[in-house]
């Protein structure tokens, strides 16, 4: 670096790469989107006397919380994968990411099953409750689906070796997952709130 003669020497590898900052911007704007939708949920809730409206069952607590637990459990392997990546241990990185991917995919599959179950009982076009219920949950789960695609892409890249670029992608995508997990908790608790 001193060959460039531009003052301060480069710091160690602990500073965030540009890609992480890009992911932070994405998370900032997407978190706002989900916050707005959560606010919509409560706005509509307080405009209605009966919530959920008559004929629509109150959501159950146990199964959705267990399913959410699957997604949250994936946080640990993601975190371990990042550590392995920083230590440039490729096999361990890929292994942990696959463990996470399985948990996250299982979460999404069970969510889809839950939608199918719910749709038999109430539709988005039945009432404002149904409209925001499916839109809010669907928006959160769309972020999970995007995360799965990102992880798949990352695994395909990492299978061919670890580079600085791929490590940056790992940092950015893991940050995306932490944020999506936190947002999904908020969203799930919001749609479960009538049962709380």
């Amino acid at each position: 670096m001193s060959a460039y003669g531009i003052g301060a020497a480069a710091r160690g590898g602990r500073e965030r790469p540009l890609g992480w900052w890009g992911a932070a911007m994405l998370v900032a704007t997407e978190a706002t989107l989900l916050a707005v939708m959560t606010a919509t949920y409560f706005y509509l809730r307080f405009k209605n006397v009966a919530w959920p409206p008559r004929g629509v069952p109150v959501p159950t607590l146990v199964v959705p919380l267990l399913v959410l637990g699957l997604l949250l459990a994936a946080t640990t392997p993601v975190c371990l994968g990042v550590r392995a990546g920083r230590a440039r241990r490729r096999a361990a990185t890929c292994g942990w990411l696959i463990v996470a991917l399985v948990l996250q995919a299982a979460y999404l599959a069970l969510q889809l099953h839950q939608y199918a179950h719910d749709l038999r009982r109430f539709a988005p076009s039945g009432s404002a409750y149904g409209s925001i219920y499916y839109t809010l949950l669907g928006a959160a789960d769309a972020h999970v689906a995007v995360g799965l695609l990102l992880t798949l892409w990352l695994l395909a890249k990492l299978a061919r070796g670890i580079t600085r670029y791929r490590l940056n992608a790992l940092e950015a995508i893991s940050f995306y997952w932490y944020a999506v997990n936190a947002l999904t908790v908020v969203v799930t608790l919001t749609v479960l709130s009538p049962a709380l």
Partner: protein
């Protein structure tokens, strides 16, 4: 004189692809800025024609230039075009893209390909919106598109689909640009440019970018709800099924009020560049002005319900929002006093750019005063939906947001083209536009007080409104003539103007330290910075020249760029930047095709195109940057 060998290497590394292909695949922030500029001018022309059509229709009572249906589409399109396809892309897309990297001493933005994607998405969104208009499905429920008027029941055509999808599409472009600006200003500054040395122009764009990043999601959510209500049968806005009509307004204005400041804050930024250059004096109260620029946008997020004083929400809420709105006066006044005191205590040269800034300050104060009147809730309830409101926001949006854009066009013209404009014609154009604008918008105050409602396609005679409407229409055409003179001046200057030196104004910031027009790589040597007005630090610039002669700090081993620390602007690492890529335009094509088929309810095809979009994104990331 032969250029030093490092510069030759830079020329080779950063050389663009030749011809049209070079423009289609460019990732150069200057070229993208120019693309934004030209595209935006086309939309400005369209919005201007719509404005003149409105004024022609209203020139006389019982006029029949436009029927009610055509009038609804034209005034809606005028508002949408001017806000989303002219002012935002002109300030952020054109001015911000071109100037921010030059001002922070960078060779490009943090994400050059994302920047190209932003432009192509923006261009496609405009084509999409205007396709709707030419098919007879132009949005027709006003730019704020209130439900239930915009619901399927009262607006059964496809008009509103072009509104919802066009705006979601447009928001994607704005969000990409905003994120790019924030990361660039945070992370790509020249060595020594600590946070307190970032030019005020960049602070303003930082504020606008944060505004876009956090305000647009509210609009997007609202648009998604409306699209679902109209096409899937959901009930977000339908009180008969538990929905709420006011939900639309809350979310729209939660976006819409920050939006007003997103429009105007870049204008503040342009003013804080032009004023120091033409008074040869640093801005007074630099930290206060920087904070005020950010604070205006921040407070802007807490005032949205002042657009809803007449909707019947509880008085307690109204009073809170009136108080919050009054708070905006504080950062605004700080800036007005800082600008005018800098001019009074400096050595002002009233060249065309500074004239436009003086005009801007006058309009901003006038429009601000009528804005304060609206804080009084009973006054607002009386005046809402009259021409008084139209007068107020045109003083702010045309007088205060667009005047600095015109001033900035003159100010940076020599930098971008390497030619000088004609000063006398420039000053004449200012006076014509200034007189025309006042003639156009001042009578609207009076006619509004007389009770003329907005958004009516015609009005009866005998109410005392006619004379004012005639004056407004004359003012409209005078303004248009002035704007034509402005662009005529710039076009003739481009071909015939005298050659410009690199720094004709003795400007304060780094863009004036490089040749006009700037080379592809912006800076031959990475500049070092020790104040917020680096081009006035002669010793630093001399040091740059010495380092260039010695070949130190040139970064010529590839398209390289410095990444700096967040607060202190210390160099952390050197990264390789992407350079020329076909992927942004391909991704934009997939995305636009997807939105187009959504508008005609072909959901399977849309899903297929979504898959194609994912594939293009994989292609985008196939080639990795070389390890530096």
């Amino acid at each position: 004189m032969t250029p030093a060998p490092p510069v030759e290497r830079l020329e080779r590394i950063w050389a663009p692809r030749p011809g049209v292909l070079g423009w289609l695949t460019t990732t150069d922030h200057k070229r993208i800025g120019l693309l934004y500029f030209w595209a935006t001018l086309v939309f400005f022309g369209a919005g201007g024609v719509e404005a003149l059509l409105i004024r022609t229709q209203l020139a006389q009572p019982h006029n029949h230039v436009l029927g009610p249906n055509a009038y609804d589409q034209v005034f809606t399109m005028h508002g949408l075009t001017m806000i989303f396809w002219f002012i935002i892309p002109m300030t952020t897309g054109a001015f911000g893209n071109y100037l921010i990297p030059l001002m922070i001493g960078a060779r490009d933005l943090a994400f050059p390909r994302l920047n190209a994607l932003s432009f192509w998405v923006f261009a496609a969104s405009g084509v999409f919106l205007y396709t709707g208009l030419f098919l007879g499905f132009g949005p027709n429920a006003g730019w704020f598109d209130y439900v239930p008027l915009a619901s399927r029941l009262y607006d059964p055509g496809r008009n509103i689909e072009f509104y919802t999808l066009g705006l979601i599409f447009n928001s994607i472009a704005s969000t990409l640009t905003a994120a790019n600006f924030i990361v660039s200003i945070f992370k790509c500054r020249a060595p020594g440019m600590s946070f307190n040395r970032i030019p005020l122009f960049c602070f303003a764009f930082l504020a606008a970018s944060f505004g876009l990043l956090f305000a647009l999601p509210a609009l997007s959510a609202d648009l998604v709800y409306l699209f679902l209500d109209r096409n899937v049968g959901t009930h977000f806005f339908d009180p008969a099924h538990g929905g709420a009509t006011l939900l639309w307004q809350h979310l729209f204005w939660f976006f819409g009020h920050p939006e007003v400041y997103i429009l105007i804050v870049p204008a503040f930024g342009i003013a804080t560049e032009i004023i120091p250059a033409f008074t040869q004096r640093k801005m007074i109260a630099f930290p206060l002005v920087a904070i005020a620029e950010l604070l205006v946008v921040f407070i802007g997020f807490g005032v949205w319900a002042h657009h809803m004083f007449a909707t019947g929400i509880p008085t307690v809420t109204l009073v809170f929002f009136a108080g919050a709105s009054a708070m905006v006066v504080i950062p605004s006044t700080i800036q007005v006093f800082a600008w005018s005191t800098t001019i009074f205590t400096g050595l002002p040269r009233f060249k065309t750019p500074l004239l436009f800034i003086v005009g801007f300050i006058l309009f901003f104060v006038a429009g601000g005063l009528t804005g304060i009147m609206f804080i009084a809730i009973p006054f607002d309830q009386q005046m809402t939906d009259t021409y008084f409101v139209v007068a107020h926001f045109h003083y702010i949006i045309f007088g205060a947001a667009v005047f600095p854009i015109f001033g900035g066009m003159y100010y940076w013209f020599p930098k971008v083209t390497g030619r000088m404009y004609f000063e006398r014609a420039g000053q004449v154009s200012f006076w014509i536009i200034f007189a025309g604008t006042n003639l156009l918008f001042f009578p609207m105050h009076i006619v509004g007080l007389l009770g003329m409602p907005r958004r009516v396609y015609t009005y009866p005679s005998g109410l005392g409104w006619t004379i004012y409407n005639v004056l407004e229409t004359i003012g409209g055409f005078v303004t248009a003539a002035g704007i034509l003179l402005l662009f005529g001046n710039l076009v003739v200057s481009y071909f015939r103007g005298p050659r410009a030196e690199p720094d004709p104004w003795h400007g304060p910031t780094l863009e004036w330290s490089v040749p006009s027009p700037p080379p592809e790589y912006n800076f031959a040597v990475v500049p070092t910075v020790s104040s917020a007005y680096p081009n006035w630090d002669a010793a630093d610039r001399e040091l740059d020249r010495q380092r260039l002669a010695a070949g130190a700090g040139v970064l010529d081993e590839g398209p390289e760029q410095v990444v700096s620390s967040f607060v202190d602007g210390e160099t952390q690492e050197v990264v390789r930047m992407p350079h020329d890529s076909p992927w942004p335009i391909l991704v934009a094509l997939c995305l636009s095709a997807m939105f187009a088929v959504l508008a005609v309810e072909k959901y399977t095809v849309a899903a297929f195109l979504g898959g194609l979009l994912v594939l293009t994104l994989v292609g985008w990331h196939a080639k990795e940057p070389e390890e530096a």
